[in-house]
Amino acid sequence: MNPRRFLAFAAIALLTAALPAAAQDLWLHVKVHEQGGENARVTVNLPISLIESALPLIEGAGEIQDGRIVIDDTDVEIEDLRRVLDSLTGSPDATFAEVETDTERIVFFKDGAYLRVETDATTEGTEIRARFPIAMLEALLSGPENQLDVAAALRALAAHGPGDLVTVRDHDATVRVWIDDLPEAGE
């Protein structure tokens, strides 16, 4: 076979194979296991596109308009957050803040495409791991004026791909929030 034709066929085959994967919907999963009380177990598995569709429904419930959260609290200026994020994303991987006491440890650091927060409270046995894609945070802060653009953040999250977002473990409950391409939540 002519090598050029072979390459063209190979390229078409690769594109055809990649298209369904690209179009495949990602799912947001939330799992909460309560220890004690009523031993509640909550599982939420929702396609991100479905969450995005439902965002305007929350509009009447609070400060959300067209998928954007309006922040009225003057203590938190979105513009300030934008400036902080810009400076963080422009810097190399580093630990930006670390607080350590006898009972608690909090670390805030940049790890590649993520901003991460880790806390360990030894007395309560609480352990929090949060990992936010920087692209998602940028999209979240991309709303006009003092608004958080949740819809844009969801789209950025979907574009970023699968991964853990938040895990919380303590005596009372474990919580895991993550994204993958599976409809049913695994462990």
Binding site: D25, W27, E38, N39, A40, R41, V42, T43, V44, N45, L46, P47, S49, L50, S53, A54, P56, L57, P183, E184
Partner: protein, 152 residues
């Protein structure tokens, strides 16, 4: 065969065909549009046990009749009130219709459980409490139809 026997045979065949035809038509309707079922089982010996299976086509018919039976002003008002949410409802309905099989939401405690699952073309809502079990199953397309009705 006598004339009387022929008449009875013809009548019998007509009745049989009517029953068969109705059954086949009903089965075809259910197969094409799905079935909405509501099942309620209350606890205790005197608890209510209820199973209501309704072809989804009847709901479509109901929505169609509603446009004729409900006064135009009230229908206009209903649609005007639903208008801000209609595109969102339509998008959610389409999203549920298109999403693969999954347990969308599940809450289980020691005393009760709630599950919303998508299985095939059906959305199933299961509530299992101490005093009653409720199960509602409806074709995912029904939600889209309701959204369309609100938009019309």
């Amino acid at each position: 065969m006598s004339r009387t026997a022929r008449v009875f045979t013809a009548l019998g065949l007509a009745v049989l065909m009517t029953f068969l035809g109705t059954g086949v038509a009903l089965a075809a309707t259910v197969a094409a549009t799905g079935l909405v079922t509501v099942q309620i089982e209350e606890a205790g010996p005197d608890g209510t046990r209820l199973l209501v299976p309704v072809p989804a086509a009847l709901l479509d018919l109901g929505l169609g009749v509603a446009t004729l039976a409900v006064p135009a002003d009230e229908l206009r008002q209903l649609r005007a009130e639903a208008a801000p949410f209609q595109p969102v409802l339509a998008a959610i309905a389409r999203g549920i219709e298109e999403c693969p099989d999954a347990t969308l939401v599940e809450v289980v405690t020691d005393r009760e459980s709630v599950r919303v699952t998508k299985r095939g073309n059906t959305l199933v809502i299961d509530v299992d409490a101490e005093d009653a079990e409720v199960r509602v199953a409806l074709p995912a397309r029904t939600l889209t139809r309701v959204a369309r009705f609100l938009a019309a």
